[in-house]
Symmetry: D2
């Protein structure tokens, strides 16, 4: 082991798994470590401090290890400013660019630590004047000053919440064998709490919400003020509108579970009706659309982004067919979200998850455990995955929220 | 095509897919057919009649085709008696034995058609005096007269129900994207109807019923008389008893979704308590067990079979640890069932499905679509598969049944 | 039953399930039927003919039934021309428009039957001069003459292939429990046969092809001329390019299964390198990209469509970010396909399946049985679904194709 | 916080996650901790030592916390002997019994630390003379001295392996998107290494091994000496024997993927033939069974346990139909296993996993990610889960093993 370098760790570095992860990573990468200083917090609210000497076979090996530790939240004692290089072309990154984590990140500009804005995973940091902005490669423009290396960058890893929480800290195994109604009750409590504190709740929903019969419950959530943003696609909106115009979803009567006569045309008629009106909003204002998820969004001024996909029929005039434009709008819409509830859509949920900082609490609901596992894997530091049927989940959630509200109103 | 032989088809042979299946099978097996006579039923209640000449490359090829058509329900015009051979040893079948379908079957004994008792799939028919009994290989005894060949045997294939039904006729694709609550409502109506007609309902349930929080609803169904037989394993009973003694399932508090202190021992304590009492019934009588699925079975005289498996802890004294003995008891318990509701257990559901004739309506509920598909595949002629969360399914079902009963009571 | 109307059925109407489906549908919809004439084909190559009187409660009920039967392939004896109405606005369909099936369809224009071009499911037919074009709602322009009602339209339902085929006729249950290698061998034979007849093979592939290690085998298939079109997204191309530039997929070394040092940046570097070059083709020509799936496409002039999605990083310059434009390009690319092989992508596979007529043979490969079931459900008349690991499927397929080719070369 | 008590932690307590888990658990249970002493190992091979004061609201709360920490591996400084109570009845445990973990455990008897034999999860420890035996509740006999409380018990938690390993340390997310062939290669290397060191390899296999076409590869593994024990059920053996006698599995020809004529009887004939011979061994010796998995077991003296289940047909004479007896035999058969490879059976794999100490490396292969997740969850400290098709996995594994052996033979 020829090359060595010091790192520092601060905070609840043991129970937040930062220190064990650092040890783990060094051993996985066949490096060595030595502990220079270690001051452990004696009680659960105290923080700890560690200074470690990391050793590698050679300078390259060492730098690779240091890079990984830095991503975990290890700090480099040097007090230098962040270093940038200029993008030579649109969408072309400088060699050695700094690839972001989804944890809150600070960069040192002119000796001052600045928080990086719009933090997300696997992106770049661009410096403009004294601002630091997290930017995707698609938005890198020729001439942008892109952060390179690790100097002057600090990552703040998520800390374990003190005490018990329904949101798991870091990854836990996803299982369909948990008490669904009790989990839903606790989610209702979290949602209510966030809304009482003026927080922001984002819903990401796939068309199965309508197919499985959850659309009225979701409309109720919106009507009752529990939803601040809706992210979905053409299919959710079309199915919702089809149900509200014709009582069917892809032609199936959602009450009798029989195919309606000429029902296979309803899907197209729904699109056609909105096109005739001009937009969803126009259809609501003209009295054509009188209920449902999209109706409640319009009526309650809940912004929505309907992002296009190659599976779309139509699409509705409100759909953003350019995927990059849609991505930008989604990213803007979720700024400052407190809770994101993802239901029955891998595409929209992953797209949303990609844009979220690790500080946002996420709830992933899907009947396919592999989808939930995948979402949890990229997710935030505090996440809960529920393997259940969204068609029964949503009505229970609406019922629990109504019950809780009533209880609060009665001063319980 | 050198060899040929006549077959007959009777009944609703077109819409019940018998005739198309016969054509399909002949072509799949590279045989030929010629239609000798065809009298089609002119209206939907009329039956049809067809006489076909089937041709094969040689006698063997022809017999192979005829065997398959016979299993589908084709009749051989010959009027001969059924032929038997004697088993030379326990569990040893005569060469050329007749392997049963799960459709109602008749055999001609001394010129009279007798219905085969205990009809099930992939078994043998044993003739005693003038009785014909469907028997598994495990029960074949030396000296048994086992039916061989196809002579004197008639299979009655299932017929399509006239009009719409929630139960699919034959196989349809399994999907998680159907309106769960509406389906549950229709199942509730079917259950109520069967019970009002004095029918028999069998529940097959896995331990996930308890883990997901459905145990109180299932107990309610039993208490309210909707269940005539319960088929399950050690795990369901232990988890149910654990929940009723300690409020937990495998140590997890089902209400708070937290692990209870010392909760990991509850599972073992539950077994121990029942062993101390003597049996589940003893525990109920001694006032130790005061609620839940097993309690309601005891209190309402609902017979149950708890079949052992190699995964079992304990097991409870009531568990039949010999799998062949358990199989026999299950088979007896489901005689004359009208509806079998299978929930969250592949092992017990397949074991049950193996013993059912095709005339029993089956409802398969599981969160894993592959499990539902597999169960539907062996299932009855009338089956519905629902991909949902049993922890939300059962409470909705209980609620719908209560609602329907109230409506009926009010003369609606 | 007050209203009645005659329909005709022609062809292999029994074994292709047309006649039983007609009976089935009438009974499901609570209508009645009477058979007026029935001439059955006596042998397996003969066709049959049926004339039926369909009855409904009233004219509306009857028309609903007739519509459904017409979609199945029932013919209305009337000899009238097709009827059109004019679209009053872009993307707005006339009331009563004819919604297409995915079966070959003919319309009568000026007394002559014309084949509808670009047949696909759930679309409209637009008449221009004496052409009939299948068009999606997104392409309906103000003034288009859109077909309405059922007059002058004939649907040719798929017929059962005579004899055994690896491709299932209509829906069969999807299972992971089938002999994978034997199935792969038969698929290899089908592919070879199609290519020897000058047929067209389309590959639809998701990023898991690369993650699971199937990229070299797919590149080999392209190099050896088995692929005529590749439909994929940004992710497949980026992962393939990342692997070829850095040996990793999302930073994981695909050989050692370890994370490469700084590997998390490789994904972005791969995009950046192609952006720097200008396009994938430019990167190949500049000697930057020297192997892999995309490289082989360029080198072998295999057209590809990379359709954008909201999950995309970058995206690559070759990606069509507008989903409607991408859909159009996909639809053009698959014209006259003989076989479509869909692997590990629900999004692109469903989008492709939506554009295919029922005459195209489809092979659906995914590790998730629910995905395969969903794809089979919309699929063609001849389809095979294989629940397997694409990372082992592709290498076996490449090996089988190489073996078969060698055998053919040796005159076996 | 009124009650307090000291605990000690020893070993690689940070990177093996022992210390962070202790902190985590205390906070989850709303307790407090204070660090009394902390000596950290400075380098990766050094061990650490910590002494902590744990505080609870009251004595009960404290004891609950201490119990959980003790299960994780925390040591209580007291130097007392283990305490026992006498079972008052068969299968009845004393109140406060000690419930085991799957980690190596020591108990102090007469001042000496004795290793507990047959360590497994969720069982009891019974003391006889100076022996300590891990025993399931089913084996507790009246009069047994069962360990209660926590005194005189030490749990040795698993330690993180130094350096990189294919076996994950503790739980990691299960995914189908990993390079299958590369993983198989590394598993082959592990297996070869274990066998070269004279280690013991246990195979647990479900019937899908045969259905998917993996039976020849598994037979090859046995023939080549890579398998020391086979755990399976009736179905695997019957399907294997059916394939070897008739070329089919449940009647399907595994090469042509067509149903064989009269194939549905093969399953029963296979059972009948073995019953006629007397046993599988008899059938091999009489020249009836000449190949396959069971044949190779007999020929190579590889012991097998065929455990009965309620799904069984027959069963074969070799099947242990009593589940408790089968469990005992399985438990004996896996003593001192080094690697357990579980393939395509949840029932047998969980039953096996329940009996394994945490020190055994486990490989879980299944096409259903939920099954793999569930198995990993109960698994050993070192485990790898692979979501793939066993029908392609086994042939690749056999091929890799053959290749590696050849390379070793050539001195590479």
């Amino acid at each position: 082991m020829e090359a060595m370098r010091e790192i520092e760790l601060k905070g609840h570095i043991i129970d937040s798994f930062l220190l064990p992860k650092v040890f783990d990573k060094v051993m996985d990468m066949n490096g060595e470590f030595e502990i220079i200083q270690f001051d452990i917090g004696r009680q659960k609210t105290d923080t700890s401090y560690a200074r470690l000497m990391i050793k590698g076979r050679d300078q390259d090996h060492l730098e690779n290890i240091i890079s990984e530790l830095h991503r975990l939240g290890a700090q480099l004692p040097e007090a230098e400013d962040v270093v940038t290089e200029t993008a030579i072309k649109d969408r072309v990154v400088p060699k050695g660019f700094y690839s972001t984590t989804n944890h809150p990140t600070y960069v040192k500009i002119n000796g001052e630590w600045k928080k990086v804005e719009n933090q997300k995973m696997d992106a770049m940091i661009v410096i403009t004047d004294d601002h630091a902005l997290c930017t995707t490669i698609g938005h890198i423009k020729k001439g942008d000053r892109v952060v390179v290396g690790k100097k002057g960058i600090r990552v703040i890893p998520p800390e374990r919440p003190r005490g018990h929480s329904i949101f798991e800290f870091m990854d836990s195994q996803v299982s369909s064998e948990r008490p669904s109604q009790s989990l839903i009750k606790q989610i209702a409590e979290e949602i209510l709490e966030v809304k009482q504190d003026g927080g922001k709740i984002v819903i990401v929903a796939g068309p199965a919400v309508v197919h499985t019969g959850g659309q009225q419950a979701l409309a109720e959530l919106i009507r009752n003020g529990y939803v601040d943003v809706l992210l979905a696609g053409n299919a959710l909106a079309v199915h919702d509108i089809e149900y509200n115009l014709y009582g069917t979803s892809l032609g199936m009567d959602l009450n009798t579970v029989e195919l309606a006569p000429e029902g296979h045309k309803h899907h197209i008629y729904a699109i056609s009706e909105i096109c005739r009106a001009g937009s969803i909003k126009d259809a609501v204002e003209q009295g054509i659309l009188t209920g449902g998820i999209m109706y409640e969004c319009i009526k309650n001024n809940v912004p929505f982004v309907l992002a296009g996909s190659i599976r779309d029929d139509g699409p509705l005039p409100d759909v953003i067919t350019d995927t990059m434009k849609a991505q930008d709008m989604m990213r803007k819409a979720i700024q400052d979200a407190d809770i994101v509830l993802m239901m029955s859509t891998m595409l929209h949920s992953i797209a949303t998850g990609n844009c979220l900082p690790s500080t946002v609490r996420t709830i992933c609901v899907d009947i396919n455990p592999a989808t939930v596992t995948k979402l949890m894997d990229r997710g935030s530091a505090q996440a809960i995955g529920i393997v259940t049927d969204v068609g029964t989940f949503l009505p229970w959630l609406a019922e629990e929220l109504a019950l809780l509200k009533k209880q609060k109103a009665q001063g319980k």
